[in-house]
């Protein structure tokens, strides 16, 4: 039976680890908001990517920049788990009654908190530099719609982060040290960053690549919501559903690999 107390203990420990390691904290907590600030200041009035001059480069990039904060979770999880294995802690906790399900749940919870904080900070910065997403600022939208929009953005971020946590756990299976895991994590980060986040793949003629990249579903989902797309639009739910399915598949692979590594 799953014991919430064990999960909570692991979550508290993970949060402490993330706070106590300033390098990890800065790299994974403030990188995306910092990029949002820089691009917001530089690209807010540049309409070079949109022939109709409706959206600035920054407005096109923003959904991807927000997804990027969830993407960095791969590095965070991979380095953290591999580091625990390197120090022998993984082996030790595997001799306690902690179950794989409890371990995975704790990882999902503890690593999802940071991207949500980044989402809030990132959106706050974007608004501060002049970004006005229709769903939140458009007069045609009721308070209920605005609230539903916020909720949906968070749901997209949570599910996308689950994907990243799963990919991080998979990465950690192939690395012996935290350093190696951190490096390996970029195998999953870079393609998603280039082809599915703040640089729209359409500009490189690589729109078709998006289907394979979880970040593209999150980025497009954020974009649709910010643009005030009605919630009845199937594309939003289709993207959310696909993201959920990818997440599920990643966890199955992750759990199988973890179990195999846990007891050889």
């Amino acid at each position: 039976m799953i014991q919430p107390r064990r999960i909570l203990t692991l979550v508290m420990m993970e949060m402490t680890r993330q706070i106590m390691d300033p390098l990890v904290l800065v790299f994974t907590m403030f990188l995306a908001p910092a990029l949002i600030l820089i691009f917001g200041l530089v690209m807010s009035n540049n309409y070079g990517w949109d022939e109709t001059e409706t959206y600035s480069i920054f407005e096109i990039m923003l959904p991807g920049l927000l997804a990027y904060s969830g993407l960095l979770t791969i590095y965070d999880v991979a380095a953290g788990v591999a580091g625990e294995r390197e120090s022998g802690i993984q082996k030790r906790i595997n001799t306690t009654p902690l179950t794989t399900a409890e371990y995975f749940l704790s990882q999902m919870i503890s690593y999802t908190i940071k991207p949500i904080i980044q989402l809030v900070i990132g959106l706050g910065i974007a608004v501060a530099v002049g970004y006005r997403p229709l769903i939140f600022f458009g007069s045609a939208y009721s308070l209920g719609s605005k609230f539903a929009g916020i909720l949906l953005v968070i749901v997209f971020m949570v599910i996308f982060t689950f994907c990243s946590v799963g990919l991080g756990l998979i990465t950690a299976n192939f690395a012996k040290t935290a350093g190696a895991a951190g490096g390996l994590a970029f195998i999953f980060i870079v393609p998603q960053q280039i082809f599915g986040s703040f640089i729209p793949p359409g500009f490189m003629g690589m729109e078709g690549l998006g289907w394979a990249l979880p970040s593209w579903y999150a980025t497009r989902g954020f974009g649709l919501i910010f643009a005030g797309t009605p919630f009845t639009d199937t594309e939003i739910w289709l993207r959310l559903g696909i993201l959920l399915a990818i997440s599920f598949a990643i966890y199955i692979i992750g759990i199988l690999l973890y179990e195999r590594k846990k007891r050889r």
Partner: protein
Amino acid sequence: MIDSEKNKVSKIEKIVDFNENNAIEVKNLKKHFKGKRGMEDVKAVDGLSFHVEKGEVFSLLGTNGAGKTTTINILTGVLLPTEGIASVGGYNVEKEMKKIKEMISVCPQEPALYKFLTGLGNIKFFGNMYMMPKDKIVERGEELLKLLGLYDARNRFTRGYSGGMKRQLSLIISLINEPDILFLDEPTVGLDPRNRRKVWDFLKSQKDQKHTIILTTHYIEEAEALCDRVAIMDYGEIIAIGSPQELIAEHQVKNLEEVFMKITGRSILEGI
């Protein structure tokens, strides 16, 4: 009946045969690791058979690479055996690890602590893994910290602990859940003689607490001082087993080191 079913039944029958006075029973245990790049398989453990009685302090003594840690890893669920069967607390290590984990605790070779948690924080973390009552964790944790002289450092982050302090804290953590069966994998490696003596005295005091203790070591004097029985391992096999006194008398030598030398022609400390 197909072969796999036959194997299942025979394994279950063997488990039923186990003596209930034994905390651990191991029969023809093997662990072979696949050789890399066409090299031969490594026979880390090669046909071990022994038992440990309840309340006994039992030592696996041998050189580095003798197979001591691999044996412990199989008994604690970290590794699966290649062949043979083993039971801990009457439960099969291949099939009933969940039940085994409730009654054991392991003090690994590396201290394996969270460096960003305090000493007491680490104790609480592992106490929670065993679902112990929170006040009991603190009470027992502080009691053990006092016994090993770490009480004053309990609120310091373990990254500031010396190597000896980390090892002692690791030992405390392994005792927090009052395990029926305690596995200690080279618990005094790297400790200076004074701290080693302190750990020995502490472990002697635990002998009265009805724990069954399985200890791996390559320190002869440690095995002689602490253990009721010793199994001397070499190249994955047990080459001698019995109480230190029995082994010394049987081989007509002065100590266990000489027993090892007489059997293998080498010193146990070679290569350490």
